[in-house]
Amino acid sequence: MIAILDYGSGNLRSAQRAFERSGAKVVVTSDRDVALNAAGLVVPGVGAFAACMRGLIKVGGDEIVRARVAQQRPTLGICVGMQIFFRDGDEHTNGELHKGVGVWQESVSKMKAPILPHMGWNTVSITGESNLFNGLNDQSFYFVHSYAAKAPVGAAQAWTTHGEKFLSAVEDGAICATQFHPEKSGDAGLALIKNWVAML
C-alpha cells in the first residue's frame, strides 16, 4: 500500500489517481501509523518552503520522514516535498534560512535564471545508476518552481538546466525525490511512478 501524506499542501486526489495507475493501492492520509508503515510514502508539496514545513511538522511528518529514512523505507518527495528533505532553504527569507527535515545536508536556494518560475517541460540527464528513470532517459517532465538544490546528494541524480544546472531528482537508497511533478508529466510521469512502485 502507498500512502500520500496529507499535510494541507496541494490537490491530492489527482496525485492519488496517478499513483493508482501503477496498479497499487493508494491512500491519502495524515495518520501517523499509516504513513509510517506504508510500503511507500509520497510527500507532495505545493507552495512555499516554510509554509510546507509548518504543515509537515503539524502532522508530525518531519518525524515520520526521519523514521522512514532510518529504517530505509521507500519514501518519495515531490517538488517542495523534495526541497524540504534538505537541510534548509532560503525562500522568502531575509538572510535567515528555513530549516528542512535534514535528510540531505545541502541547501535549497533561488535559481539564477532570467525568467522564473521555471514553468513547463524540461529534460533530465542522469548520473549514477538510476532505477527511477529506467527507460525514461530521453523524456521530458513538468516543472513549476523558482528554488532548487544544486549540489549532488544520493547515489544517483537527475540534472536539469534552466539558467543554471540544478538537481531535478535524487535516488538515495530507499529515499527518492523529484523536483518535477511526475503526477503532471503525462505518460512519462506515469511510467516513472510505475518504476518507483516497482522498487517498493
Binding site: 489527482s14 507552495g47 518560475p117 514553468m119 517541460w121 513538468y142 513549476v144 538546466t161 534552466h162
Partner: protein, 257 residues
C-alpha cells in the same frame, strides 16, 4: 536541451460541457471535456486551459465537476479561468484538481486579489490574463474588459508591471485586435510585454499559419495558447510541434512509454 515551449489549447466550458464550435471528426461526443482533454493530451498538448463561461452559479458547480473528472484522468497541467473573484474560489478549483487559475476582470476591479492568492497558494498557481488592444495610451496598448469592447482605463504595460509586483506567476496576453482573425499574433505587443516581465509569458489571439506560432516565440513568448485553430482542425497540435521542432525550437517530444 532547454525548457520546451508550450502549446496550450483553450476550451470553453459551461454546464459541465465543452462548448463553442468544437469540430473534431474523430470524437464521438465533442462536448465531453474529459474526452477532449484526453484527445488533446494524446496530440501532445503541453497543458490544458478551461475557460468557465457559465452564466450562473449552478453552472459553476458543474465546472468544478468537469475539473475534477479531467484532473483524475488526464495527467498534464490544467489551468482554469473565468468567474474567479475570491481566494475561496481559487481554493475550490485547486481542490478540484486545477493546477493553476487565471484571473482577469476581478484583478482589474481589485488588484489586491493578486497578492491574496499569491500569498495563500504561491505565485506559481496564478496566471494573470490580460485582454489588451492597441490604443493611444503611454505604451500604445491598453487593457480592455467585456471581450475587448470596453476600455478598462489602464495602460497594458503599466498593468503587467503592477500584476508582476503583486505576485503574478505568469502572464496570459490576449490581443483583442488579433483575436479570431487568424492573421497572426500581435508581435509588437508580445515584444513590449516580454521586455518588462520576468515571469513566463503566454501569447494568445491571432494564431493562423504555422509561421505565426514561430513569430510569437521569436518575440519572446514562452507558451502559445490557441482555441479555434485547434478546435476546427486548421492545425493539429502535433503538426504545430513538428513544424516548430523542424525550425529549431525546443519542444516536448515524449515518445510512447
Amino acid at each position: 536541451m532547454a525548457l520546451s515551449i508550450r502549446i496550450i489549447p483553450c476550451l470553453d466550458v459551461t454546464d459541465g460541457r465543452v462548448v463553442k464550435g468544437v469540430n473534431f471528426t474523430d470524437l464521438v461526443d465533442a462536448g465531453d471535456p474529459v474526452e477532449m482533454a484526453s484527445l488533446y493530451n494524446a496530440e501532445g498538448a503541453d497543458e490544458l486551459t478551461f475557460l468557465d463561461i457559465s452564466a450562473s452559479s449552478s453552472d459553476r458547480e458543474m465546472t468544478l465537476d468537469v475539473v475534477r473528472k479531467t484532473a483524475e484522468q488526464v495527467f498534464i497541467p490544467l489551468t482554469v479561468g473565468g468567474g474567479i473573484r475570491t481566494v475561496e474560489d481559487v481554493d475550490r478549483l485547486l481542490r478540484a484538481g486545477a493546477d493553476k487559475v487565471s484571473i482577469n476582470t476581478s484583478a482589474i476591479a481589485r488588484p489586491e486579489l493578486i497578492a491574496e492568492i499569491a500569498d495563500r497558494f504561491g505565485s506559481q498557481v496564478l496566471v494573470i490574463s490580460i485582454d489588451a488592444r492597441r490604443a493611444r495610451t503611454e505604451s500604445g496598448f491598453e487593457v480592455t474588459t467585456h471581450g475587448g469592447r470596453q476600455s478598462a482605463g489602464l495602460d497594458a504595460l503599466a498593468w503587467v508591471e503592477k500584476a508582476c509586483t503583486l505576485g503574478a506567476g505568469e502572464i496570459l496576453l490576449n490581443s483583442m485586435d488579433a483575436d479570431g482573425t487568424r492573421a497572426g499574433y500581435d508581435i509588437g505587443m508580445i515584444t513590449a510585454v516580454r521586455a518588462i516581465s520576468k515571469v513566463p509569458l503566454i501569447a494568445s489571439g491571432g494564431a493562423g499559419s504555422l509561421e505565426d506560432f514561430a513569430a510569437a516565440l521569436d518575440a519572446g513568448a514562452d507558451a502559445l495558447l490557441a482555441a479555434s485553430v485547434f478546435h476546427f482542425g486548421v492545425h493539429r497540435i502535433s503538426d504545430v510541434k513538428k513544424y516548430l521542432s523542424a525550425q529549431g525550437y525546443s519542444i516536448r517530444t515524449n515518445t510512447a512509454v
